[in-house]
Symmetry: D2
Subunit: 377 residues, 4 copies
Amino acid sequence: MRKLKVAMIGGGGAVSFFGRVHLRAVSLDGTREVVAGALRSQPEASLEAAKEWGIEGFPDYHSMIAAWQAGKLELDYAVVTTPNHMHFAPALACVEAGLPVLCEKPMTMTVDEARQLARRVKAKRLPFVLAHTYTGHPMMMLAREMVARGDVGEVRKVEAWYTQGWLATPLEEGGQKQASWRTDPKRTGISNCGGDIGTHAFMAATWVTGQPVKKVSARLNTFVAGRKLDDDFNVMAELKNGGTALITATQIAIGYKNDNGFRVFGTKGSLEWHQEEAERLLVRRGDHDETYWLGGGMPFFPASVGSYLRVPAGHHEDFFEALANLHTTMERHIRRRRGEKVADPFPHPGVDEGVAGMAFVAAAVASSRQRGAWVKV
Amino acid sequence: MRKLKVAMIGGGGAVSFFGRVHLRAVSLDGTREVVAGALRSQPEASLEAAKEWGIEGFPDYHSMIAAWQAGKLELDYAVVTTPNHMHFAPALACVEAGLPVLCEKPMTMTVDEARQLARRVKAKRLPFVLAHTYTGHPMMMLAREMVARGDVGEVRKVEAWYTQGWLATPLEEGGQKQASWRTDPKRTGISNCGGDIGTHAFMAATWVTGQPVKKVSARLNTFVAGRKLDDDFNVMAELKNGGTALITATQIAIGYKNDNGFRVFGTKGSLEWHQEEAERLLVRRGDHDETYWLGGGMPFFPASVGSYLRVPAGHHEDFFEALANLHTTMERHIRRRRGEKVADPFPHPGVDEGVAGMAFVAAAVASSRQRGAWVKV
Amino acid sequence: MRKLKVAMIGGGGAVSFFGRVHLRAVSLDGTREVVAGALRSQPEASLEAAKEWGIEGFPDYHSMIAAWQAGKLELDYAVVTTPNHMHFAPALACVEAGLPVLCEKPMTMTVDEARQLARRVKAKRLPFVLAHTYTGHPMMMLAREMVARGDVGEVRKVEAWYTQGWLATPLEEGGQKQASWRTDPKRTGISNCGGDIGTHAFMAATWVTGQPVKKVSARLNTFVAGRKLDDDFNVMAELKNGGTALITATQIAIGYKNDNGFRVFGTKGSLEWHQEEAERLLVRRGDHDETYWLGGGMPFFPASVGSYLRVPAGHHEDFFEALANLHTTMERHIRRRRGEKVADPFPHPGVDEGVAGMAFVAAAVASSRQRGAWVKV
Amino acid sequence: MRKLKVAMIGGGGAVSFFGRVHLRAVSLDGTREVVAGALRSQPEASLEAAKEWGIEGFPDYHSMIAAWQAGKLELDYAVVTTPNHMHFAPALACVEAGLPVLCEKPMTMTVDEARQLARRVKAKRLPFVLAHTYTGHPMMMLAREMVARGDVGEVRKVEAWYTQGWLATPLEEGGQKQASWRTDPKRTGISNCGGDIGTHAFMAATWVTGQPVKKVSARLNTFVAGRKLDDDFNVMAELKNGGTALITATQIAIGYKNDNGFRVFGTKGSLEWHQEEAERLLVRRGDHDETYWLGGGMPFFPASVGSYLRVPAGHHEDFFEALANLHTTMERHIRRRRGEKVADPFPHPGVDEGVAGMAFVAAAVASSRQRGAWVKV
């Protein structure tokens, strides 16, 4: 079987955490490989980084896309993993050139950009996957399927949260890179906490339930003195079906690392998931609790999820495998377009979810500025 | 050591759950005993119930209080555990007569009644304990002490919740007693979910942190068709020190029984507690999590809490012991007034907290009716 | 309803932990009360302690029994909670006089004593309850019922353990009272760790499964230098039905407080319980795990257990309530003998289990001395 | 950076679970790639499988090794992942040819073979890694380092277990492949449960503590009628330092999937780890429990472990990453031999541990046949 050829845009900097993560997610299954990259914004640094990675280097993404269009470079899709404020331009450039994109979140800096990108992706009929990593986790996929097939009945309420503590102190003042760009409006946009992790909570609330958010009432806080953007993000939301969502995120909860999760309460039952204990899904339908553990061969996994599982029950898949599953979804789209027989790609987040996420954060910021007035998304 | 003599007002009905609970909480330590009661609203039923309990019966609380005042009955304090809408009158009657009261929550039906009762209790300088059971749990007491002594620094945010599922269907239509009175505005007042369990979450948020709520923005839902009061209660609150509290409660989360708990995020650390795993308190101050388990002899318990512990580490105390601790607090107040040497009573909730709880629910209901407008408490 | 009158033998010393525990367990339900006691071995101290407790005091248990026989003292049963080496004599004295006994474990110091006591109890047809506290916990009772009614099929294997750490250092050298008598062969007998907590693990293994132990192969260790008795106790056992039991206990596991629990593996399913998370029972019968939580009104509790529950689901009962359940069993036996209508007493451990526990420890000690040779129980 | 070239021996069959697992573990980091394989025992099937994998195929491992020796194939190391009874021959062939080997466990079928292989590996001074997957998990590596640097003091006792339920019924009678070869003495050797998973428990007990097992007393059971080998494995062991180890494994615990774990009790503290909750290590040194979570940047990871971590704290690594870490250890050995600057390889299990594992199982089988007599390892 021919391996898919993947180009990487961004991800080569010393401080880039996600460049290597995507490299691993691409590589994991042995069916895809990173072959080319415009890994950094400076041309020379970009070429150097590519050499270090052992891939074909380009000074910038324009020249890489041009090489592909000229038939000098074989590519199946590109991964955009530049800093947040530089997602839009390369993603759009790839799309205009006809190259499928797996894009880091947030999809863009503004809602307008997001809408523009979505329009072009649809016009070009291209596969597009948004890298909300945890949506690739089998237990989160299972949760979505259980809601979709009616296991919990009509959704009444959903709680989704993302609790971290690493920004409880003014880390950015000491020059810590991750903290610096995240708390800088120029590089991050209108929201730090909401955009960075609130969107993950938003995705859990809406993608798992299939219920879009209609309007929001928000309270954003900045607890660390001198910080220009929010480090705490609290949203009460009304869902399309009239249900309620509580979507919260914080970066000031000392000692909490990545406490992301959700609870769904429906007319027939409840679901609960915690990213830090990702290998299990809690299901409540009656008198006792049910715990579903990750792993292949379990009958409670529908084929749509089961086809993504790599190991039998009891062996767990986690962060890298979840992200790799998003790449698998891209791979399935591409192989299918080529006429190869592959299992169905899962409906992972794409441009529509990207637009929704941007609009959600914008509405939350607007609501918070109006002291919590309800704002339409 | 002479046992304290306790009178019970209410609690004798076949469906009364809390009458027997208080009987056990009074009896547990062997230092207090229930000796008299006006256990039901109908005089004959009241006398009959007392006979069944093996205590001195009275047709109503008036005659019982009168007997005490006349020196015909020895009493140290009364427990008011009548249905919610009948707390105020007997509590006030006891107070006016000079008899200390341990009163079930909610303290009254209206904020005005609560304020009136508080004024009289203070004028009479009487001990008064409000039966928020979980505030008597040693781990919740420890949490309060840790916040008070600065272990987590200044409180920035607190989350408190109470998640139940028993009212996810219209149980009251089938005549289930507990569901019927709780969803009946006449017997319950302006809020079902908020008043019944939202107040527990409120107490966790404010009593543990020592931070009163200044104003609230609320969204109350009624998910079960035909129900007249809220069965879902969501409040965003501003604390006195400018911090934020998320106070939520729901009765429609199928399969959840008594998931009450809180998380406190301060400038130096975090605390987390779950009533369904009450024997442990999670403390986070740095790189690893710390789990504190219940039990005597552990140096992390200050004397103020340690003096309430009944067993060495590893043996757990739970619901009955927590409620008994509130009775112990009442007992210490009374013995101290008599000049006996006893350990310090813990600052468990009293009339002030009762007023605050009533005002909080009233403000939340008002805010929800104004689509979430911020309302002062 | 007339309260049962209870006499206490032992339990009055300053260092006695279990005296007060039994007082609370007797008192909890308001249907029993401690009225008399021979609380200490020294006559004067005994009388003084009784005064402090507010009960009728006796210089020794002989005089107390005599007073009862003479009709000068009303009693329904006695609690024997003297130091371990002094259980036999007072228990036998009560039995000979016809007074039912709830006796602390270990029942006696030797197997012979145990057998003698058992014979007399049976000859007298007296109720006799052995205070293995956790057997009174509703989840452990439920486990026994589930095994008995075939929920897990035929038992193949059972693991039972009790892990503590408080004796990891030579605490007894500093004069700590609890450590001193437990590690002293004169007051404790042939085994410290096995007799003190190994018997709890033994009871979990055998009482829950209904499978007696036929023979054992044991390895006892003394890890703390200078100690005369075992502080670590490991037994491989063959059950009556041919199954295997692993019964282990240790006191040198630093940081572990009361990690007592069991796992039962049958031909149809598995059960798992941990005393430190006593409010839940884990049941595995297929692809997912089931968690059963404590609390009244749950249909998975048979009436035999449900009739012991004091609170609705979600409110937990723990240590004191478990011990109180053993007193409730005694109470039911006694009330039934009086012709009162009461629910069925649960088959909690009695003299037969007491004999079995003594024989088990004796066989384990013998096996260990023979380097693990299989010894019949 | 040049990618290491890896050859795969075995792993290509439709039922082979671990072939694909090693492919992924090799591929994950983008620094190694599988380039060649003799994937099946039948030459034609082998070539076909290689085509499907997109690698260079060989009819058998002999020809593959020959091609490498002839300079026609570039290789850095081989992975042996044939059925258990066919590990020895190809591993030895590689070693004799000078090709480093990462070998699946059990290393061989007999102790003699294991010793022979170990001698040749040492004579050739070749890197050799034994694929005990979980020893590659960072939390298990951390546990080993903590014991080694004295965090828990001298080891007194260790408990290690592996609990599964998939063989609770005679699955092999239905022809299930995994069950068939595992319960077949010809393909599995003298022990099923002990060899398959008891060795993992053994490795946890000895590799984590650094304490070899000196002698064992064992009880092996076969609970499923008609089965020829053990499906339940219980060993009491004496460690080199005089401590005790309880090493148990079972395949008949219905509903248990991969409950592998260990507890270490030392003179200064305790460690506890559960594979099904692999992201955390429990540390007990005093009054409260400490929970260490997986993830980069945490100061409690020494550099020896930290250099293996791929993600910041809160993002978890699991099964594939653990196995990939064993490949990383092999990679570091190889790069270092080539003079490249790499971090230190961790002391993961190699031939010595392979010999010890084989000897342990052989001694356990012998002891069980002698009714638990102590047998030297």
